[in-house]
Amino acid sequence: MSKARITLMKGNEACAEGAIAAGVRFFAGYPITPSNEIATIMAQRLPQVGGKFIQMEDEIGSLGAAIGAALTGVKAMDATSGPGFSLKMENLGLAAMVEVPLVLINVQRVGPSIGMATSPAQGDVMQARYGSHGDYGIIVVSPSSVQEMFDLTIKAVDFSEKYRVPVILLADQVVGHMRERVVVPPYEEIETTYRTEPSVSPEAYLPYRGDERGVSPMAKFGSPYRWYANSSSHGEDSFQATSDYAISEKLIQRLTNKIEKNKKEITEVREEFLDDAEIVIVAYGCTARSARGAVLKAREEGIKAGFFRPIVLWPMPNEEIGQVADTARAIIVPEMNMGQYVHPVREAVSGRAEVFSLPKVGGVAFSSNEILEKIREIVKNG
């Protein structure tokens, strides 16, 4: 067994290496800060491993190219930030509808619009889930460290292949640009997932008939399985069904439920100090780092504080958050936006505990003291 490599890496660099380790062999991108390093490294690394890189004419085009590549059987990726993420929404919905596995990285920056290109934010949490028109299921993972930029990129690729769905790695400028120690396992020892291919005859192949999970086997473009990747409402055979309401209903339900109904296998949360916790911080991404620090400091002061981090943001870990609410009396959601993820948290808590939003905007990450202050305030107010 070869040894793991221990190295110092930048978050975006770890993301690119994670993609290579996961078997991503196609990247299409367009320049945008603060995600640029990912494309820069992919341009260098992909041809070395026989993969392809292309810088497209715009953000829309780069996700389009990734969709095309993924259909040929290649693991494909795209990365963006801020305004670029908004431009991706059309093709993101297309990937969800046509059921193309791919990974879209969003290194969040301050918005709205051009905002602040080099400062962090978490303002795209709702857009990541609901940004494209219509209803569909999607998976969003949220890294908090450089190690996770590596590990969760691999996980994102695996999810996309397993559920035939676009997956968003929702990073932020802090995690994308900071440098940390990373343990990089030998790539040949990393277990990766590849989409299920059809086992029936080409004549019997139904590209949009979900299995018991709601996921359909996917044939490579260019194989004897001729099929139609259809962005219009379609039946199991993939043909147009734009005036059949029952088919449309069934399709939209399957697209949503193949994620929502498999939540148990997808959900990943980190829980610390919850056993006796009265006040629990629910935080994700770079904010989770400060939140954990605040919890540790509160504990030193004798406050029964707990830490809950959704690593997979979407699908929403309702059940796990609900369990926290069964024992805690207060839940604080600090996030670098005007209060977004606090809404589904409140819904999951469903009145069982008091939920406090702790919003922060403007491009400066939370300090642990700011979150600690909120904990103290809640203690003080009883």
Partner: protein
């Protein structure tokens, strides 16, 4: 030729009878373009499994509903980026793109010029009917000056694009214009475009009889087809015509054809270089 001798053989081979009748209006030229594409593919003897049909959205971009090729229907204007991804990821595939004029030159205009510049081996067929037919006949980037459209009720005040000249200026290495009245020529132009190593654009003029034709009082479908004799002129004839005589006429034939290194070939060289096996 065998393909002309046996139409039902071609229809069975290339089209899903189960999806017929098509959604095209009676008298529409789009079916002629779709069949011309299939005849070109038949003449080239391509393996149908290796032909990927990519489409945008609109009256043109429904041809793939009926053809028996593996297909991707993208969003409006977005066919070329996905076609680029398909070809770059697997250069063994023959990628044929169906777009309308609005699809290609308005909402997809940026993708079009960069596909031309990049010279990736993809064949793009633009079904050019001078308006947005599917959505009710709105004015588009190829609508002639002064023509009427649902969103140009007083006549079009914008100058139209000549898609072929746009493609040429953007660096396309094969540019041709055909018209459905000259079907044999159209088949040859598409065939030559698919055979061309590099980005090929075929501007296929096809009458929209129901919307554009009716609104502009252009007569019956038969008259609109025949009008292509007046509205277009072959390259051969155009050579001997004065600029005044050519005014208002679109030139048919192969307008650009040149050998330039193709993108996926060039990228293979980059892979070789990155892997230390470069020249």
């Amino acid at each position: 030729m065998a393909d002309q001798a046996n139409l039902s053989y071609l229809v069975d081979k290339y089209f899903y009878a189960s999806q017929m009748p098509t959604m095209w209006c009676p008298g529409c030229g789009n079916g002629v373009v779709a069949m011309s594409m299939c005849r070109a593919i038949e003449r080239l003897g391509l393996d149908m499994d290796k032909v990927i049909h990519v489409a945008g959205i609109g009256c043109a971009a429904v041809a793939h509903w009926y053809t028996k090729f593996t297909a991707l229907q993208t969003a409006h204007g977005r066919a070329l980026p996905s076609a680029t991804g398909i070809k770059l990821a697997n250069s063994e595939l023959n990628v044929v793109v169906t777009m309308g004029d609005g699809d290609a030159a308005a909402i997809g205009g940026n993708h079009l010029i960069h596909a031309c510049r990049r010279n990736i081996d993809v064949t793009a067929i633009v079904y050019n009917n001078f308006n947005y037919g599917m959505t009710g006949g709105q004015v588009g980037p190829t609508t002639p000056l002064g023509s009427f459209a649902s969103t140009a009720p007083y006549g079009n005040a914008e100058r139209p694009f000549d898609i072929c000249r746009l493609a040429e200026a953007a660096g396309a290495t094969y540019v041709a214009r055909g018209a459905v009245y000259y079907v044999e020529e159209l088949i040859s132009l598409i065939e030559r475009g698919i055979r061309h190593k590099g980005f090929a654009l075929i501007d296929a003029l096809t009458p929209c009889v129901t919307v554009f034709g009716r609104r502009n009082k252009l007569g019956t479908p038969g008259e609109m087809f025949k009008a292509q004799r007046r509205l277009t002129v072959s390259m051969k004839k155009a050579k001997d015509m004065s600029p005044e005589e050519l005014e208002g006429k679109l030139i048919r034939g192969v307008l650009v054809e040149k050998e330039v290194p193709e993108f996926t070939d060039e990228y293979d060289k980059i892979i070789a270089q990155a892997q230390g096996r470069g020249e």
